[in-house]
Symmetry: D3
């Protein structure tokens, strides 16, 4: 079994605030991340799949096809978007990196070829903060 | 003469649109960068100063003081902000990386110690795009 | 369960030598790392925690609080220090990256909130050498 | 138990084509990677070993010795080489990154000291594509 | 005047050998870089242009258009190619990074919009070696 | 004219303190950088030379020879050393990155082949601080 990872990028705006809380509590908990005018990030997304390489190609999966699936299912829906307002699969959720990583897992899980297992999502919000999700 | 560079970061939302143009022309020219719900970036800012090192310290300038000036004059006004809405020194300007680099130069130019010259601003919008300005 | 990682930095001097060995044996085993006048590194420290995100915030843990704990328990005690002479939790141990990673784990293990598990310490000594410890 | 990782580099030419297939099928499956005049990469190789640090040195293994073994068993046989033509341990295999990672594992597995376990091979083909192998 | 830089990538095979020299002299001068079976690299190409930002857009140049020009004039002719055999604008030249940087300059110099000046080509052969050319 | 840059590394301990000043003034000016037990860094050194490529090789200079000169004249004298105590060409100077960059320039200036000009020294003390010197 080998593991293959592809890095993709997207840039997005977001805001952390809980609509069930008061303005004051949002400020207290999220600080400047609650800015009502939004802020944003360059996200780095590492998608790792696993399985056995094909004898004929030597590939676990053609990395260009993996890239196309990630773009169609994930990054085209996130890139140059507002995570709180524009993304159907984030509706009703806090736009934390934790929740975004899990939502990206769910977008990809059912859209890979049958012989390929999704292993992990690794999502950098900044160069110093990242979240991983393994579907556990 | 030596050159000293300090890297600082900020995360911000922005949008590219010219209020004097129609919605259609903005879409045509700026594409997804015109998204009315904003998008955002992790910006990397390299500030370079030049001059002669002090004999007593061996420093051109204490890099912690340089960092403090950059934070007070620039990054605290940009970090976790909306460049179009929240930043006084970007008011009335297109929020391109080009204009932002020039505006950051102007913020710093008059706020450095007398023996220090500002040499350049280098501003990364993404890992693959950056703008430099030398005050020329 | 999600995994959240925070990167922190510290710069320190150290030296590899075993006080129970002769000068010659130390030279033979550690080479220039045994230099009696010390050498040093910029260390990159990745701390990974795991658990379930909070429903209200979407956070596993506020990454600023995680950063504060790492600074108070670890990096303020190591940054701009001599690992052999200045650090109470390295006393009596060889200052290898292996031992330092384990010692950092022990510093953090008992200082995290109750719902958070420490998952791993990843410590870069140089861009080409790193050690990981999972508490096993 | 601690994990120690060493990064090494090599530059090589390769080509993806299956000699049992027609020229057309190779073009269809591998596209420009099948270029009969070859192309190439700067490969980054991360080798991770695991075990218990030695009491006397604090080391899992002297990282210079690990580097020497990787060079002798792997990178000297790959660096500035053609993976399809020049490398005995890739003969008869597709030169995919997946197969190369497994072959590197096999080169190292039996050439480490007795108390050291090989944990993983992580091989970057480009900054955006890498393969991992854990010997499973 | 502002400077705008775009990073593009390409992967290629090459070989250093002078056809006017003996096999022995090529081996002596170029060592393993003369390997008759080729080797290769992931090249990082930084293209810097300069001029005045447009009032209407705030752009020196739409970076997507710059990227398209670089791809059409340069990287599509180099990516997954053999620099010695497949590239018309390198014919009859030694395939050193120095000569390649100058050739890329010549490809781009006459293919930029009239108000844009090409400022520099910066070409990384490996993470530790790069060449710059300013058209001087 | 082309510019060729080579990156080399060294790890060293140092301390900032002026022996003509009191302990208190050193503490006040240099803070934790004055720690009497030293601290240290992984330094990244970029050496840039310029000139015309040779017709026969396509090289400005064989980068391996450049690397050898840098090692012999600079990094072997700095790597795993104490900059204040072990380095003859830093004797009597404050061990700031500014002074170290100038000293490295002086070490290299007179040790390059006659047709090669030294263009610049770029010295990273940390990933966020660097100094450049052009011999002006």
């Amino acid at each position: 079994m080998v593991y293959l990872t592809r890095l993709e990028h997207f840039n997005a705006a977001h805001r952390l605030f809980n609509p069930e809380w008061s303005h004051e509590k949002n400020e207290l908990v999220f600080g400047q991340c609650a800015n009502e005018n939004w802020h944003g990030h360059n996200y780095d997304l590492f998608v790792t799949i696993k399985g056995e390489p094909d004898k004929g190609t030597g590939f676990l999966m053609d990395v260009k096809k993996l890239s196309t699936i990630i773009k169609e299912q994930v990054t085209e829906k996130l890139d140059h978007k507002n995570l709180n307002l524009d993304v159907d699969f984030m509706k009703g959720q806090m736009c934390s990196t934790e929740n975004l990583a899990v939502a990206i897992w769910n977008q990809l899980k059912t859209n890979l070829p049958g012989n390929i297992q999704l292993h992990s999502i690794k999502l950098y919000e900044t160069a110093r903060i990242y979240v991983e999700y393994f579907g556990e």
